[in-house]
Amino acid sequence: MMLRGIWAIVVLDMKRFWLEKARLVAGLAQPLLYLFVLGKGIGASSQMGGADYQRFIFPGVLALSLLFTATFGAITIVFDRQVGFFKAVLVSPVPRAAIALGKISSGALQAALQGLVVLPFAPLAGLPLGLGETIALFGGIALASVTFSALGVAVAARFTSTTVFPIVSNAVLLPMFFLSGALYPLSGAPRWMQIAAHLDPVAYAVDLMRGALLDKFFFSPWLSLGVLAAVIALLTWLAVLVFRRGEDDSSLGATQFNWRR
């Protein structure tokens, strides 16, 4: 029931995602702006030099794209709770954990797809993709997608209003992105920003992907892998908890009725 439940949720979400496949193209706007406008502009006057800077921020921009796609996917939870098919899901025998896991999987899948659409622009940013780098990068994209999707679901599952979520999401996502070292080398950043980056899962994801492409790491890749795995485990657990708690609504500790009279 667990696996079938996850599968059903993924099929539901991917069918809906496919209706809006134009989002994959629209989703290119933000990363390309960062890459070819911001990147070019800042790069021209940075110590790194224009071409180098664009190369440098490419993995960061990729992470940005994954982060926003994954969390946007999670917003559907908030909306679904109020109306729609999700209500039918909630009265089905699908385990609540399967709903959380299905949501995380489909969000990750959507993010990874978006990542694959951004990837072909790497050569234009001065990064010819060799086979080895591409495979390593796929691994990074997969890991980052799952992390960001778990983050989105763990947060979104707690909200009941669609209007609040984007605000909270921006208050969380943008700081995470800016502190991640996506747009500047963490090695040259002030101490407090380096400390903050250590607490930011996005920083590890960016660093892994950058390492895969440029072979330059700020964190040890093993540390990054370990941290991301731990973050995924923790957030998934939190998401499952929220979905389980929804079961008993407001009644704290529903009494079990004694049917044997």
Partner: protein, 339 residues
């Protein structure tokens, strides 16, 4: 712990069993001790005004909320302890839409099958079967949002039927539909009931409640009466006289003085129960000291029964036709909006 093994779902097991259910939302007591039993294969209606506790009781039986006190069983399964068994056995149509409007009917039903653990091919077959049965085959591939209101409601029913439920829960399932669409919808439901499916529904359309084998009238979190429609109406005895006069206050005073007992009704009419209304009406018309604008004698309706028992009117009954016509007040209506 309730023992599942001791209560197998057999013919002897009631379809629904509710014992002493109390539901509190903070200080608000939505249900104040509900007891009822629904037999297998029965069509059972829960009738009451908004805020009476209909949706709360419905949600408890549908495993969406847990009772604060007491317990409920559906087909012998405890709705809290054996939630998944209840979910597997029931089909449910909500007042609000629970289909993905952007996807086709076929896709919606396919997904429903997957959720209940059917393999993809079997889910597909089942979807086609149900679409055919409900006459939705032609509309099956259009996005649900492009269907008519009646078709969409049928699709909701189809969604509930994908898993071949033994019991069907309908919460104001035809709200906002026109008379024809409602008739079509209930035609299907009656067919299911005839085939042995238990149907438990809430409504505030009187004529819909009339099709039930038994009706529970609920008011302020309590069941005030539970019986067949005929027996409920027989409780009033005789019939109902409704009068509209140019001075209802004076007319009421006169009636009381003559030892009649007009109901304390909120509406703009006088209502009088009498064992032989047709015989007494001419008498009344002759002697009433006010001008009678309109007089009516009729069989008591469920509305009258409810009024007699609670002193309150059921909501939304005055103009059912107007309610049925298109843009009804939709899903909100202050239901389920509780914390």
């Amino acid at each position: 712990m309730p023992s599942a093994s001791a209560t197998p779902a057999s013919a002897a097991t009631p379809a629904v069993e509710v014992r002493g259910v109390v539901k509190r939302y903070g200080a608000v007591e939505a249900l104040r001790g509900i007891d009822l039993t629904v037999n297998t294969g029965e069509m059972f209606a829960l009738l009451g005004p908004n805020g009476a506790g209909k949706t709360t009781l419905f949600s408890i039986l549908a495993t969406l909320r847990a009772p604060t006190e007491g317990g409920a069983r559906v087909l012998g399964h405890d709705v809290v302890a054996e939630r998944d068994a209840v979910r597997r056995a029931m089909g449910i149509v909500f007042q609000e839409p629970a289909i993905e409007q952007r996807l086709s009917g076929r896709d919606n039903l396919l997904l429903m099958g997957l959720l209940y653990g059917l393999p993809t091919a079997a889910a597909r077959r089942r979807a086609d079967e149900i679409l055919g049965q409900l006459g939705l085959a032609e509309a099956a591939d259009r996005p649900a949002k492009t269907l008519s209101g009646g078709q969409r409601r049928k699709l909701e029913l189809a969604r509930a039927l994908v898993t071949d439920p033994k019991i069907l829960f309908l919460d104001e399932a035809t709200l906002g539909l026109d008379v024809d669409a409602r008739r079509g919808f209930w035609g299907h439901v009656r067919g299911l009931a005839a085939a042995g499916c238990t149907v438990f529904f809430t409504t505030h359309y009187m004529e819909e409640a009339e099709v039930a084998d038994r009706i529970a009238l609920i008011d302020q979190g309590r069941i005030v009466a539970l019986d067949t429609p005929r027996a409920l109406k027989a409780r009033l005895g005789g019939g109902v006289i409704r009068l509209k006069t140019d001075d209802d206050t004076r007319a009421r005073a006169w009636l009381v003085e003559k030892n009649f007992t007009p109901e304390a009704e909120a509406g703009a009419e006088l209502m009088l129960l009498h064992a032989d209304p047709a015989a007494v009406l001419p008498e009344l018309l002759r002697h009433l000291p006010v001008k009678v604008l309109r007089a009516e004698v009729k069989e008591p309706s469920l509305e009258d029964v409810f009024l007699k028992l609670t002193g309150r009117k059921l909501a939304g009954d005055e103009a059912p036709a107007a309610l049925g016509a298109g843009g009804a007040p939709g899903g909100g209506r202050g239901k389920g909006g509780r914390p």
